[in-house]
């Protein structure tokens, strides 16, 4: 579905990505974890065609949608308008099915997107991404600034979408624990390079990931 080979991206003199290879297969849930500035968002931007690549190949079979970091809605437009604009690339612009999946949005449909809470905005952002009928949905830092319970709800929705509709997910997260617990496979990005990859469960157990990203050895689960 998505095949990235040896991707390199430069920002002027700085190397943002260096020989990154990554894949997402149909229906898979893949996590991309790493610290701030590791290049995770750059990777997504490259996949979306926003930044130019210096080297490497990107192949995307099927439709791709990118839910950016920080929601990035159109604040003066209504929730309904934000959703409809997500369908710019496709022909069906009716958001009715989004309101079914995310009923809370139906209540908010006429409100200015800028006036919503963080969790609600994230929901709109995900809904907007879904409107493009993607086969792969990438979400950048979904949990940032959101209360854990909201994050749980959103995560549950995404899992349902994955199991019921076969929507592949690429979750980019600083919060490694969340991403690894939701996904099948994961890549760890550090200063533009993939330093670890494999099954999520294995990575959760790896001491290297533990120390760097999980804040110390796992204690007995709460």
């Amino acid at each position: 579905m998505i095949q990235v080979e040896s991707l390199s991206v430069q920002y002027g003199a700085a190397t943002a990505l260096d020989g990154v290879s990554l894949s997402v297969r149909a229906g898979e849930k893949v996590a991309l974890i790493g610290a701030n500035g590791a290049g995770k968002s750059t990777l997504l931007n490259a996949l979306s065609g926003i930044v130019a690549k210096k080297a490497g190949t990107i192949r995307i079979d099927g439709r791709w949608a990118h839910v950016p970091e920080g929601r990035q809605l159109f604040p003066e437009l209504s929730v309904d308008d934000n959703l409809r604009l997500g369908a710019f690339r496709v022909s069906d612009r009716n958001p009715a099915w989004i309101y079914e999946i995310l009923p809370e949005l139906a209540r908010l449909r006429r409100q200015r997107a800028g006036s919503l809470s963080g969790g609600q905005q994230q929901m709109v952002a995900i809904g907007r991404g879904l409107m493009a009928r993607p086969d792969v949905l990438a979400i950048d830092e979904m949990s940032l600034g959101l209360a854990p319970i909201i994050v749980q709800q959103l995560a549950a929705q995404l899992m349902r979408l994955n199991s019921e509709r076969g929507l592949a997910l690429l979750l980019v997260e600083q919060s490694a624990r969340l991403a690894l617990s939701l996904c099948d496979r994961a890549y760890v990005l550090e200063t533009g390079r993939v330093v670890a990859q494999g099954a999520a469960a294995e990575l959760l157990d790896s001491p290297f990931v533990e120390r760097a990203y999980l804040g110390g050895p796992l204690e007995a689960s709460p």
Binding site: V9, G12, A13, G37, G39, S41, T42, I50, K54
Partner: protein
């Protein structure tokens, strides 16, 4: 854009060439020379403003006019002409400081508009006030005289304006290599960064604004004595735009570029208007050609040669240096909050 200017020997060469030209050229060439030197003096100020303080000034002609009128008015009201000439840059700088305090709160295009408004309001004022002679302007301004020597020949004004240009260039260069100057250059790449490192941003912006106005005022003062008469029609808005074209062609922020750009554009336009006044050409040919030249040069410079002509020429002469001046992905495309792009310098900094 923040490369240090050419060394002091460049200034010496400029002075030498300028004085030699003033000595050698004939009368008709000298009249072009005087105006060119005066224009270049103003352009140096404009390029400092645009290249380092990041302010587009669509109204620098107003300071040129202010200097001219100040000198002319004082001379006509009995003040010694050399005092009038000294007052000219001070008056212009004072005007700039006075309007700059409220105006420099504005940024980017708002400031650009404000400078245009400034020029228009100034023109409106001098056209209305009787003291400035209204639409007719000031006539019969006595020529410059100092210690019994009267400057009446074109050649004498050529020396004077060349001297003023050299003075302006020296002052501009000294500003840029001084501590405040380095602060200025920090300003041009990112106002936010400069402010957070303790640079008194507002103060420096005002200082550059006033200084560049002073340069224009000095040139204007000389102009008043050289021409002997002033009218609002001598200072149209187009004049301000000409300075911008010359600064852009020479490379914004480069003092040497300002001089080179002024010379290039001025002589080009002058040459073309000579051609276009030949018999057979319609009467409007001169304006058409000059507008077309200004426009093409301006757009080309701003879109394709941000370093200006000087950079282009230098790159041919020197060994090819790494030309990676502009960051690869346009900063406007990167997300504003993306920490990965923090290191990217952006000209957006001073243009929010």
């Amino acid at each position: 854009m923040t490369r240090v200017q050419a060394g002091p020997w460049a200034v010496a060469i400029l002075a030498g060439v300028a004085m030699a030209a003033a000595t050698v050229l004939d009368e008709s060439a000298l009249s072009v020379y005087v105006l060119l030197a005066l224009t270049a003096s103003v352009t140096v100020g404009v390029t400092l403003l645009m290249g380092h303080a990041g302010q587009v000034s669509l109204g620098h002609g107003a300071f040129y006019a202010a200097g001219a009128y100040a000198a002319g008015l004082l001379a006509k009201h009995g003040f010694p002409s050399w005092i009038a000439l000294l007052v000219a840059p001070i008056a212009a700088a004072g005007l700039a400081a006075a309007v700059g305090i409220p105006l420099l709160v504005l940024r980017g295009h708002h400031l650009a508009f404000a400078t245009l408004a400034l020029h228009l309001i100034f023109l409106s004022l001098i056209s209305e006030l009787s003291i400035t002679g209204g639409d007719v302007g000031l006539q019969a301004i006595p020529p410059l005289s100092f210690a019994g020597v009267t400057l009446s020949s074109v050649r004498s004004y050529a020396y004077l304006s060349a001297g003023a240009l050299v003075l302006v260039v020296v002052l501009a260069r000294n500003l840029l290599v001084s501590r405040p100057g380095r602060a200025l250059r920090a300003l041009s790449s990112s106002e936010v960064a400069a402010a957070s490192s303790g640079v008194a941003v507002g103060y420096y912006k005002l200082a550059v604004f006033a200084l560049s106005a002073g340069f224009a005022g000095l040139a204007g003062g000389i102009y008043a004595f050289y021409m002997g008469y002033l009218a609002p029609g001598s200072f149209p808005v187009m004049l301000s735009i000409e300075y911008i074209v010359m600064a852009a062609v020479g490379g914004l922020g480069k003092v040497s570029g300002a001089v080179a750009g002024s010379a290039l554009v001025f002589l080009l336009v002058h040459g073309l208007s000579r051609v276009s006044t030949l018999s057979g050409m319609p009467g409007t040919a001169p304006i058409i050609l000059s507008y077309a030249v200004y426009a093409v040069l301006l757009v080309s410079a701003v879109l394709f040669l941000p370093g200006g002509l000087v950079a282009l020429l230098l790159s041919r002469w020197e060994r090819p240096s790494p030309r990676s001046q502009r960051p690869a992905p346009p900063p406007s495309e990167a997300k504003p909050s993306d920490p990965a792009t923090e290191g990217v310098t952006s000209k957006h900094g001073s243009f929010s």
